[in-house]
């Protein structure tokens, strides 16, 4: 990056199936981020809206009018599940490149509206009848079980961990009133063998927002809290691999996560051992298991051991999805990647309450988006 970029404010509207209009949620998240940063909307130079199913054309720019008619450039970003992460990256790059002093990334959506939209898109008989991502990730899982002897209990342990992480997250969609056990996860309805409903990400509505700014702005604002610096911002699309699947709504080769993370590590000049926590696209537990290895947290084939040791739970060596992840915090679509930034920023500031990771200094936010793309950000506490 040409110049340093900092996260100066974050905000969110709780995720869930609460039926709150998307425009209302976007407004709550945006205003919360502005308040968190201690700035007003006229201070924002560029706005990147991230949404998939929230509405048709004009939605983002229409919502922006509620913040004020300041004439700033407004852009709609869409990259499937990685929409929020991509909006965040665009905001980061606009500041890094000197095109903005303060940029806003605002994600809002309601995944429950997507069913109708997608069904309408595929109502004409076609050869490319889209297979659900649930099928694709389940096939990762079945192959993993075949190759490595991974058990369904391992998948259940990962999901239970994320349910329990979400219990103290005020914006989480799934906030269990009791400690969730792997047995409970396994006993829930089968969705796509070997994944059960409690292993599948929570689909609902929500909004999340992050404001990024230059060092000069940070100095001027004089916020006494720890600063949160963006150490790396990387995105990749698919590269050809043997057995490449072209047809269907799929997440491409899993290696895409490895190469995107490597690029991020190189940009930041650090490695996986430097991380204190990680957010990943854990739409299903097989993903989190494989990302332990693809992100370099452990060697290939050693992810199961990490789960058995509890290393990725809060209190463990390297907590994954400390806010509950897609599994339990939820996955509304557009705001998901920004909810990771929301949590990571609070972790790095030491504001995460019961789920605070002691002395958290460096965190990773990883998402993949169908089509497909992989996005990795590294954020650090910068005293």
């Amino acid at each position: 990056m040409n110049r340093d970029v900092y996260v100066i404010g974050v905000g969110a509207h709780p995720f869930g199936k609460h039926g709150v209009p998307v425009g209302d949620m976007a407004d709550v998240a945006g205003m919360a981020a502005l308040e968190d940063a201690g700035i007003k909307f006229p201070d924002v130079d560029r706005l990147y809206n991230g949404y998939i199913a929230a509405g048709g054309m004009m939605t983002g720019v229409t919502f922006a009018k509620e913040f004020g008619l300041t004439g700033l450039p407004v852009v709609h970003v869409e990259n499937a599940s990685a929409t929020g992460s991509t909006a965040f990256q665009e905001a980061v790059l606009s500041v890094a490149g000197g095109n903005a002093e303060i940029a806003m990334a605002l994600g809002f959506d309601d995944m429950n509206r997507m069913g109708g939209m997608m069904a309408a898109g595929f109502s004409r008989p076609s050869i490319d009848t889209v297979l659900l991502p649930a099928a694709f990730f389940a096939m990762w899982a079945v192959r993993r079980m075949h190759d490595n002897g991974t058990t369904v209990e391992t998948f259940a342990k990962i999901a239970a961990k994320n349910w329990n992480h979400a219990r103290s997250n005020p914006i989480a969609q799934r906030r269990s009133d009791h400690e969730v056990t792997p047995e409970e996860v396994l006993a829930s309805t089968m969705i796509s063998y070997p994944h059960t409903s409690m292993m599948a990400c929570a689909a609902g509505g929500g909004a999340a927002c992050a404001l990024v700014a230059s060092e000069e702005v940070v100095r001027r604002l004089g916020d006494s809290r720890p600063k949160v610096k963006v150490l790396a911002s990387q995105q990749q699309s698919e590269q050809y691999t043997k057995g490449h699947v072209f047809m269907g709504a799929v997440i491409g080769p899993s290696e895409m996560t490895r190469t995107t993370a490597q690029a991020a590590y190189e940009e930041a000049g650090l490695g996986p051992d430097d991380l204190n926590f990680v957010h990943v696209h854990d739409a299903f537990p097989i993903e989190e298991l494989m990302y332990y290895e693809l992100l370099g947290i452990c060697g290939d084939g050693e992810g199961d051991k990490l789960v058995a040791e509890g290393a990725t739970s809060l209190g463990g060596r390297i907590p994954f999805s400390p806010d509950g992840g897609l599994t339990a915090r939820g996955h509304p679509g557009g705001p998901t990647g920004l909810a990771q930034v929301w949590d990571a920023t609070q972790q790095l500031r030491g504001e995460s309450g019961d789920r605070q990771i002691p002395d958290a200094r460096i965190g990773m936010c990883h998402m993949v988006g169908a089509g497909s793309v992989s996005v990795v950000h590294l954020l650090a506490r910068s005293d």
């Binding site: 109502s123 050869i127 009848t129 297979l131 099928a135 389940a138 096939m139 079945v142 699947v245």
Partner: protein, 139 residues
């Protein structure tokens, strides 16, 4: 009435006994790789590609059984679900499609045969077909 592909350019349905349904893709002489579905150009080299008719039988790479509705039109198994698999064809491409059968019918590494299945019907009563795979019966 005949079975015909619901869209051109993806598959050949011979409609003759003893002849198999074949998928059609692209072969890149430069990269010596094959792709499905057809590509406008080689995704590796950017060079020209030519049409290739793939073998009908491949190897099951992975599978799952879904209990949730599929987007689009679905041939449901008797208990309301359906199988999905990834099949590696001998020429290289990995094909993701519906697979016939039920839980317990599939094993990674087993042979799977390309098959046409009815998605819709045209005005003349022809079956408009997509493709799926079925476990190959050893003769």
């Amino acid at each position: 009435m005949a079975q015909i592909p619901v869209e051109d350019g993806y598959m050949i349905i011979p409609n003759e006994k003893g002849k198999s349904v074949r998928l059609v893709g692209s072969y890149s002489p430069e990269a010596d790789e094959s792709f499905f579905p057809r590509r406008r150009r080689c995704p590796i080299t950017g060079g020209p590609v030519e049409d290739v008719e793939f073998s009908a039988v491949g190897t099951l790479y992975s599978w799952t059984f879904l209990h949730v509705p599929r987007m689009g039109l679905v041939p449901f198994a008797q208990d309301g679900g359906y199988g999905v698999g990834q099949v590696d064809l001998p020429e290289g491409p990995r094909i993701q499609a519906v697979i016939e059968g039920d839980m317990g019918d599939w094993e990674i590494g087993m042979k799977m045969r390309t098959k046409a299945y009815k998605i819709a019907e045209d005005k003349e009563g022809n079956e408009l077909c997509g493709f799926c795979f079925e476990p190959e019966v050893e003769s």
